[in-house]
Structures are given as structure tokens and as C-alpha cells.
Symmetry: C2
Subunit: 256 residues, 2 copies
């Protein structure tokens, strides 16, 4: 069993290091993560610049590489150059902060796992729903249990689909269980704050607050996590809206 571990918070962040250490219980681990924080960068890849790889010292993890690229770059380069295309599982995380609802589109953590399934490897994205937790031990334990269960029961997803896991940031004994969910919404006010720099030139900060989500059932990831369940959402990279295809065909565009 060969596992590629990556993230978007950077290789120095505790979440990815604890995860890599824990995954050693399940197999060989290659940790390949960005040298710098790459949050909210979405599914970027580096095609016009060279990519560098540097060996990093991480306790217990012999194969730990810092990469000056995006999370998707780490998966691509990790698989091709560091693992010789031999990999059974990609796990991205444990992210500092949740990646739920519409936010998954912006998430480097999720994009790394999407890159994994694009390349045909079963993949997971894992996030801890707290912006200031320093302790990822319990979360890594949960990932470990989940991955073991999937392996032991030979549970596999169709090509192009991965699991997006979000873990509530509460004590282990307060977690009520696991829920299979669909993505909810994370809508933000679209608001900027305008300031003037010391030379009188304007600049803007994105400041939009999260708007409340009105659904209340545990079917949604955001609700499940809020109610202290580990949320597991099967997501896919195919953006086609199949439900609407026939309707759009009936619009007569093809006779334009």
C-alpha cells in the first residue's frame, strides 16, 4: 500500500505532518506538499514555470518533499517523479478549516484530491472545521479508521469520484458519528473594504462574511459538521449539468 499525502496549508503545517505520520500505520507514505501556504488557490497547476522539489525533515516520515507549486502540482509531480506512478491512495489534508459547500471550488486541499482521481488514483480530501486548532491527532485517528474500513471492505468509488471529509473541531467524545452528505452552500456577502495606501492610492480587501445556510437537515455537509458529525461527501470532477441538457437542447440553439 503506497500513499501520497499532500495539502494546501504547506508542508510545515501540523495537519499534514500528523496525517503522514498516522498513515505510516497503513503503508508506505510519500509526503509531497507545497513549501508555502496555498489556500484558496483552487485547482491551479504550474505550466509556465519550473517546479522545484526540496527534501524536508519531518519526524518519522522519511519521504517528505516540499514543492514550490500548487497542491495539484504536488500530486502530479509526486506521482510521476517521487512514486514512479505507483500509488494506491491520495490523501489531502488535514486542512486547517472546513472545506464544505460551495467553498470546495476554492479549496486547494480538495483540488489536490480531485487531481488524484483525474490521474486514476482513489483519493480523499480531509479537513478539520477549525481555523485555530493545533491538535490534529484525533482527526488523524478518524481518517485512519475511515481508510481502514474502506480498504477492509474493498469499497471503491466510480472513476472521477472522491470523498470529501470534514471533521468537527470538538473533543473526540463529542463526535456523534459519521454522515454521508451532499454539499450545502457557503455563500458570502460580496463585499470589499476600500482603503488608501500612504501614497493616497486605493486598494481593496475582500471582507464578505459567511451568510447563514437555511437548510437544517443532516443531509448537508455544513449542517452535519455543525451538529458534530463527521461529514463524508462523494464529489466528482465532471461539472456537466446533465439534468438540464435536454431542456437546453430544446431551446433551439442548434438551429441558430
Amino acid at each position: 500500500m503506497r500513499i501520497l499525502v499532500t495539502n494546501d496549508d504547506g508542508i510545515r503545517s501540523p495537519g499534514v505532518q500528523v496525517l503522514a505520520q498516522k498513515m505510516l500505520e497503513l503503508g508506505d507514505v510519500v509526503l509531497a506538499a507545497p513549501l508555502e501556504e496555498k489556500s484558496a488557490i483552487g485547482h491551479g497547476i504550474t505550466i509556465r514555470d519550473p517546479i522545484r522539489v526540496r527534501k524536508i525533515k519531518v519526524d518519522g516520515v522519511e519521504q517528505a518533499w516540499g514543492i514550490n507549486g500548487t497542491p495539484a502540482d504536488c500530486v502530479k509531480l509526486g506521482l510521476a517523479e517521487l512514486m514512479d506512478h505507483k500509488c494506491d491512495l491520495v490523501i489531502s489534508g488535514i486542512n486547517c478549516g472546513p472545506n464544505m459547500g460551495t467553498d470546495v471550488l476554492y479549496s486547494g486541499t480538495v483540488s489536490a484530491a480531485i487531481e488524484g482521481v483525474i490521474l486514476g488514483i482513489p483519493s480523499l480530501a480531509v479537513s478539520l472545521a477549525s481555523w485555530d486548532s493545533e491538535d490534529y491527532t484525533d482527526a488523524a485517528e478518524i481518517v485512519n479508521r475511515l481508510v481502514k474500513y474502506l480498504l477492509e471492505n474493498k469499497l471503491t468509488l466510480p472513476r472521477g469520484t472522491l470523498l470529501n471529509v470534514n471533521i468537527p473541531a470538538v473533543k473526540k467524545e463529542e463526535i456523534l458519528g459519521y454522515k454521508v452528505t451532499i454539499l450545502g452552500e457557503r455563500q458570502y456577502e460580496n463585499r470589499f473594504e476600500k482603503r488608501l495606501d500612504p501614497r493616497g492610492n486605493p486598494y481593496y480587501w475582500s471582507v464578505g462574511k459567511l451568510l447563514p445556510f437555511t437548510e437544517e437537515t443532516l443531509d448537508y455537509d455544513v449542517v452535519a459538521v455543525e451538529k458534530n458529525y463527521v461529514s463524508i461527501t462523494p464529489i466528482q470532477f465532471d461539472l456537466t449539468n446533465y439534468k438540464i441538457i435536454q431542456e437546453v437542447k430544446d431551446w433551439g440553439l442548434e438551429n441558430l
Copy 2:
């Protein structure tokens, strides 16, 4: 009718300028695009750095703004600060090069249009399937006809869905028509070229070539464009794989 025009090739690229000029026939246009090229950056947003806005001279387009951010930033800031949240349509493009199949995930052009629908505005992404065309006049004419048709016939998509349009790079008279399509696949070899810099340190270039797509029906965007049809794909930002939810629920994870 107020239209926000953006792209990911940057405000100096001919594709976005010709598009903005053409859209003036349909209403007021605000052109808000990245100051620099931002291809293959996916759905990134800028949250940790300030964003600056600079007035740019573009023939015939009074409201033209260069922004030191991502395409999604341009849509967010353009709507909030340059249009006072009053916008009827977001058009992103005309991209230099196709955005089809799996590639839409990496596309800044498509991510800008996705940001548009996240913010509740009908949106289109438009790409010309050529990497070296300098003439976007015919493509802009096609966009114009399409948008006019949608408006005149009051054709609207459900919330969260947008149209991804790809135009073959052939002479106007060679275009065979329009096809409503689903996303095909654009798989690349996952390959890097390793080099040594003058100081003997290694670096890598992503060099993977596009693999052939085996489907041949016009139902797929990549096939339709190859066969000289304008491809129109309804895509959505909800990544949930609904088809698999029940199966994953039956895995017993909830009793873990």
C-alpha cells in the same frame, strides 16, 4: 442591460477587448480583467493580499479596469465595487485556447463565469479553440448572436448553472452549426522533464501531452469542436455526485 466582461488571459489580450467592444451593442459594459495573464489558475481568490484596480485605455470601452487578482476576484470586485451589484450578465473570454472536458477545472476563464453564477448572475464562459489566433472578430460575432438569442427568447438556466461555449478556430463559413454538449475528457500524460540549473540543482517542467479521446459522438464538447461545431455545455458548480449517494450510504460508514 449591464454586462461584466472578464477573462484570464489578461486585460491586454485581444480576445477580451474585442468581446467587450462587441457587447456594447447589447448594453453597458464594464471590462474588469486581470492585469496579468492568469491561465491555469483554477478558481483561486485573493483573501490574504490587498487588490488594486487600475483604469486601462481600451478603444471604445469607457469602463475598462485592470485588476491585480484572479479572474474570480475580477468578478467579485467588479460586481461589488465597479457595478454597485447591478449586473445582468457576466461573460468571461474570449479565451485564447479551448476550455473543454476536464480542462475546465483548471480554467480561470470558466472559474470567472462560475463566480458569476455563485453570485446569482447569469454567466457565460467563451473560448476560441486556437492557441495562436489573433482575430477574435468572428468569435465575438458568434457570442453576440448567442446572447441575443438567449435574451430575446428569455432562456434562463437554473441557479448555479452556466454555459461553457467553445468556438472552433476555423473560417466563419466552415462552422457547421451549434451543438449542446456534455464535457468530454482531456487527459494528459502525467510527465515531467527534469533538468539541472547552472548550479547543479534539479528543476522540473510539466510536459505531459494530451491523450486521444476515444469517444466520437457530437454529444461531447471536444468532438463537436473538432468537427467544426460551436459547443455549448451547461455546467454547474455543485460537485456532489448525487448518483452515488445512496450506494455510499449503504457502505455502512454511518455505523463506523
